[in-house]
């Protein structure tokens, strides 16, 4: 069956990066697993509608993010840093960066509003250009750039030793 072969190739090509994306978005392995399954569950029946195979990755990432946003909306989760507060995180003096602890990173991501978290994750996966991130989020590229700069400052402050509790709102 041709459709099944294409679907298997699609799974093999993208399940890892989708899982990492889902994990960083939601911060939980169980949720990430569910989200990836939901993403392929929604994508594969619509595989025939995908005209450009080159766009498959962006397409899958977009489906996953929509699924994630849907869940978050359902859970009415609201434990994020409001975007306006991000300006408080000034870039520290240039210093040799410490090796970043993935758990600390995840904690920092979990406290970040999704509108800042998503461009940050996509940026660091280095799979997407700014233009593609903007397309993913249906935003102007300037907005993405500005959110990214602020989110990176925030992240830098959070990941600097001694700064873990500096001005952070409670979860």
């Amino acid at each position: 069956m041709a459709a099944a072969i294409d679907a298997h190739a699609l799974i093999d090509a993208h399940y890892r990066s989708l899982y990492r994306y889902a994990y960083r978005l939601g911060g939980s392995a169980a949720d990430a697993d569910d989200l990836v399954q939901e993403t392929f569950g929604k994508a594969l029946p619509r595989l025939a509608t995908l005209r450009e195979p080159a766009h498959a990755k962006a397409w899958l990432f977009r489906i996953l993010r929509n699924a994630y946003l849907h869940r978050v909306r359902d859970e009415k989760r609201n434990r994020c840093v409001p975007g306006e507060n991000l300006d408080g995180y000034a870039a520290p003096e240039p210093a040799p960066p410490p090796a970043v602890d993935p758990a600390t990173l995840q904690a920092a991501l979990d406290d970040l509003d999704e509108t800042f978290r998503t461009p940050l994750i996509l940026f660091y996966f280095e799979d997407f250009s700014y233009r593609e991130i903007a397309d993913q989020m249906d935003l102007p590229i300037g907005t993405v750039m500005s959110r990214l700069a602020r989110a990176k400052n925030y992240l830098r402050a959070k990941l600097s030793p001694g700064n873990e509790t500096d001005g952070l709102p409670a979860r």
Binding site: R16, V100, S129
Partner: protein
Amino acid sequence: MDCPHASLLLLFHRPGRPSDLVPADAAALDAHLAACPACAGALAARTAQDAAVGAAMNAVPVPVDLSDRLKSNLASQLRWAWRRTAVKFALAASLLVAAYGAFVAYTRPVLDLAALADHQDRLWQAPGLTAADWLTEHRLTDALPEAFDLRLATFAGRRDLQGVPTLALRLDANGRQTAWVYFLRPADHNLREIATGQYTSNVAVRVYRDLPGGWTVVVAYTGNHFNAFLRGPGSDA
């Protein structure tokens, strides 16, 4: 290019990736970085930080069995898709059947016993008039091949004739003499071979072809007196 301008362009500069800058800006930025240790240092620090964060960001262990589970999900999804399609069609078919049944049930006529009795009463009270009206209603008046005495009519309507509902008139004369007058269309029966004759000891049949309106009339009657069904001389009914 000054440092603020350079730091703005640096936002679009991602080492190891195709630049989002237009070639002229990228070249100007490269020239500035080569000449300005402060901006070059900032870029180096940022690049190192990005590399560290990027490595941590990607350090997510992916479950080893995820790919297999996704593929088995896909297989069962395909099976269910087929099943769902089959169920959908079956449901649509049964809905159609149910809808047709409901339509038939809803539109079948109510049996009107009052009309039935009224019709029979009129035929009994004024058989000639009722039969004449019936002939007019069905444009059979000109197709009547003989001067039948319509006052003898006891039935005027459709009667099953070997499987075909056929316009028919029944005349009852004295002494259990009965004549059935059938009005036939060539489309309903093959009439080519039929002929007038005495078919049993009690029943004779007369065939009249090419009547006005294209009718063929068959009269099957009992008794030996065909005239018993006709208007007598001087009769005016």
